[in-house]
């Protein structure tokens, strides 16, 4: 799945010459945390609600003469210029990795030589997509199998689902709790997974779920 499939296309933006007051208003009005700064449609910076808060006078402090001048400061003075961006053709998992690695909450999506802003993606969008990808879109049972981390293991295990005539609706592979192992979660479209579970056990694999009360 690509970023252009899930990105938000109507992006709230400000110009470098807009004031901090404008940013504050937009942050509140649209309940957003990041606003890309654009000039002629091209991305030149980003400003967050936190950048603005840091720049504004404390509400606890005494009024200062320079309050008004801070609200009138142009965005270009406090925006960050080294923006981490994404391409519309990036995979969703790449974008998730970039957000995670950099500890940031959103990625403006740009295209072309001059970084034309065409969308934005937030961590919430990505989480939502992952939830959908892993979710239950068909009535199904969950079967978790611990397997050796080696070539062809997935083909070997899935073959058993074919023998049991069990339709698989999703597969998730993740590192196992034990070294040299992987755990594979299948969601299968059956109310009665006994047949396939006994085939899997019979083939010598460790079935993590379903389990018995004693286990």
């Amino acid at each position: 799945m690509l970023i252009e499939d899930i990105m938000k296309r109507d992006v709230i933006t400000v110009e470098p010459t807009d004031t901090i007051r404008t940013v504050l208003l937009k942050v509140q009005q649209y309940r957003i945390r990041h606003i890309p700064v654009v000039e002629k449609g091209n991305l030149v910076g980003i400003i967050s609600d936190r950048d603005v808060r840091d720049a504004c006078p404390s509400i606890l402090g005494q009024p200062h003469d320079d309050d008004e001048s801070i609200f009138c400061t142009p965005v270009s003075n406090i925006m960050r210029k080294d923006v981490i961006t994404s391409s519309p053709l990036d995979f969703v998992e790449e974008a998730a990795y970039v957000l995670y690695e950099n500890g940031i909450g959103c990625l403006p999506v740009v295209s072309g030589e001059h970084d034309q802003l065409i969308g934005i993606i937030t961590e919430t969008d990505i989480l939502h997509t992952l939830v959908e990808l892993m979710g239950v879109n068909f009535p199904s049972s969950h079967i978790e199998v611990e397997v050796d981390d080696r070539i062809g293991i997935l083909a070997d295990v899935t073959q058993l689902f074919k023998i049991a005539k069990c339709n698989v609706s999703s597969v998730l592979v993740f590192p196992g709790r034990r070294p040299t192992k992987k755990n594979v979660v299948f969601r299968v479209q059956t109310i009665d997974p006994r047949k396939v579970v006994s085939l899997i056990k019979g083939a010598g694999y460790h079935v993590v779920w379903p389990k018995d009360p004693g286990e």
């Binding site: 009535p139 049972s141 049991a164 005539k165 069990c166 059956t190 109310i191 779920w209 009360p213």
Partner: protein, 335 residues
């Protein structure tokens, strides 16, 4: 008596009904079947499928009519309770959903407010989705969490939609919940919700697959639960809607040790022939069926105390279930 297609189509797509009819009268493969959930391991096509499965719906509709007309106070159709059937798709051993059709029929013919109580170990997904936006139908499902178990839905966050928000209530219980926490949960929520909703009739689904012997599920309850479930449901009907209640069966996959005992209890509660905790299963019955049964039949109606080994994380499971109840009750009617 089988209901006319007109009544089935209160819930089911006409095309689906046609496919079910044809699949029951075709030799060999029926290519269209798969996209309707038929011809699978769970829902194989079989001869006269439409005739057999619609007859079950007819039974539940007749039960509903007899109760609503005042002919009887309550009625039981143990063949019913096929709660996984969808509008246009067979699922989880269910073709037509008699509970959904009966509720739609109650809405249309009697304009009745219906409280649906589903205590099968699996989530009552077909009934929930059929009435998800209807504030006149409250679906309450207690089931083993869908994290692992079929059908995977039934999270407490599924609360209904639009006008029906708050009228779908889900209590996903932890695996190995056992009697005490199961009954505590049931006795906590049912009176609250029923009094808040004020139904005109109650429809219950009495799947008995939460029992410790059941091979498909992991709630580990004993036979005691299958006396308490109908008892409280009936009591709520007496208190709130002139005793009008229709009970159906449901899932149950230990057909030798669990289903006959559990549904004997359901029947005894509704028919007012209360059974004693110490009662023994008649010798003639045991003699007649032991030969066919692959497992030793149970000699008593109730399970001996401490028949099952203690479950290590009991306290943690009980606390988790309590928290689930709190969250599930947040937006539903309460009284």
């Amino acid at each position: 008596m089988s209901p006319p297609d007109e009544e089935l189509s209160l819930v089911h797509d006409c095309q689906y009904i046609e496919v079910v009819k044809q699949a029951g009268h075709t030799d060999g493969d029926f290519p269209l079947a798969a996209s309707y959930g038929l011809g699978t391991e769970d829902n194989p096509a079989f001869p006269n499928m439409h005739e057999a499965t619609s007859l079950i719906v007819g039974g539940t509709l007749q039960a509903v009519d007899m109760v609503m007309s005042g002919q009887v106070r309550n009625a039981v159709n143990l063949a019913g309770g096929l709660h996984h059937g969808f509008r246009g798709r067979a699922s989880g051993f269910c073709v037509y959903n008699d509970c959904s059709v009966a509720i739609a029929y109650l809405r249309k013919k009697y304009n009745a407010r219906v409280l649906y109580i589903d205590t099968d170990a699996h989530h009552g997904d077909g009934v929930q989705w059929a009435f998800y936006d209807d504030p006149n139908v409250l679906t309450l499902s207690l089931h083993e969490t869908g994290k692992y178990l079929f059908p995977g839905t039934g999270n407490f966050t599924e609360r209904g939609d639009g006008q029906g928000y708050g009228y779908s209530v889900n209590i996903p219980l932890e695996a190995f919940t056992e009697d005490d926490s199961f009954l505590e949960t049931y006795e906590n929520i049912l009176p609250t919700i029923a009094r808040g909703f004020k139904p005109d009739i109650i429809l219950t689904q009495n799947g008995c697959d939460a029992h410790a012997f059941d091979p498909l599920t992991h709630l580990s309850v004993s036979m005691k639960v299958y006396q308490e479930i109908p008892r409280l449901a009936k009591k709520m009907a007496e208190e709130l809607c002139g005793g009008r209640i229709v009970a159906t069966g449901g899932g149950g996959y230990d057909i030798w040790r669990v289903v006959p005992r559990a549904w004997a209890l359901v029947w005894s509660e509704f028919s007012g022939q209360l059974l004693d905790r110490k009662i023994k299963i008649p010798e003639e019955w045991l003699e007649r069926y032991q030969e066919e049964s692959p497992v030793p039949l149970m000699p008593t109606l109730f399970d001996p105390i401490d028949m099952f080994p203690p479950i290590p994380r009991r306290e943690e499971i009980t606390i988790k279930n309590k928290k689930t109840v709190e969250k599930a009750l947040l937006y539903c009617p309460k009284g």
